[in-house]
Symmetry: C2
Amino acid sequence: MAEYELHYWTGIQGRGEFVRLALEAAGAAYIDVAREPEAQGGGDRALMRRLRHTSNPTPSFAPPFLVHGDFTIGQTAAILIYLGPRLGLVGKTEREVLWTHQLQLTIADMVAEAHDTHHPVSVSLYYEDQKDAALQKAKDFCEQRIPKFLAWFEQVLERNDAPGTHLAGGRLSYADLSLFQLVEGLHYAFPKATARALAKAPLVTRLHDTVRQLPRIRTYLGSSRRLAFNEQGIFRRYPELDA
Amino acid sequence: MAEYELHYWTGIQGRGEFVRLALEAAGAAYIDVAREPEAQGGGDRALMRRLRHTSNPTPSFAPPFLVHGDFTIGQTAAILIYLGPRLGLVGKTEREVLWTHQLQLTIADMVAEAHDTHHPVSVSLYYEDQKDAALQKAKDFCEQRIPKFLAWFEQVLERNDAPGTHLAGGRLSYADLSLFQLVEGLHYAFPKATARALAKAPLVTRLHDTVRQLPRIRTYLGSSRRLAFNEQGIFRRYPELDA
């Protein structure tokens, strides 16, 4: 019996992946509802119906959302602040909880910018129909934003004097998992620009490697539950954008 | 003696305004540090130095950040989740805290999109140098995104059966204040498109009016502490973008 229900689009890692990694790293009992067979409530159309369900007093603007008992919560970072203490993926003090959350929100800002490199004008237009602006935006993202964000994460890791390579304190947190996923996505979408920036961010590189080697994460990454990156998700490999 | 120190750029409302409104609505003792005289640590250059201060173990990626005693916290939504219970601007249960936060994060998403209408390509280029993409993005924002977001907030207000006009439960929360500010900004930047969308969102309109009439907010809006909107902030009035 699954304790948690994750609701997210079927074909992409997307923002759902940040929640999935937390659930997987903790060995939580969950189902990825939309990826179940249609007879069991699966499919994107059922997800869309659930998103628009008129009886939910806490509707989400967009997936992902999490159902836990009779509580529904949306917005990736809010889901993670809810799950953090329950999954043992955050420190115990208020300050640790909030610092971890601040890190997550900054990761989310960079994820949004990465997405907008291929959709700078509108999510309702095709990439091909906004390619001129995409080329400009991606150039700025690769030359300015990737180095700036990764340098900031490197600085956070440098200033953390607790043992191990973690963003917050001396333990694995959901922010570490999310930074791993962010670096994964950057590697996929912007391999050249990311390699350049990571050459100056050895602690970010080490954190990424450490998370990848966590037993449950290794198992997950090798399983069919881990979708491959593709050109419908947040991180898309359009070689012309890797400036 | 000010209990809270808010650190934000001097010349714009920006993201700092969401924090300022919470502090003002609660009558909190705070100072807006960068707006103090330079001899008292004011000015944008001092803010930048403080942002880059190497001894801070919880550095922010960007302003705003809040200093409370020996704790520094950044990211607007994280600042508000910290201040909410301290200022009496959020319900007491975990669910109320998280639902209010989910609302805030959705407001933040729309604020980021509003900003990107004039800077779709890069924050380091002038508006004039990305105007073609800005015109396209603003058209999509006005025609698709403003109606979609405001319809969602309207739905949230419709489903809240507690007395009064509040997003979460029967009390004023920081999310109500933030939605007020979002509507203020939309009115300033996109008066025609916003009037069209608000005509279909009577509860959002009523919430905006209610917040404006709160005694402390009225006083604040009439004071010199409230900066005017301008063309350096998030919400800019470029008539050609109001599609």
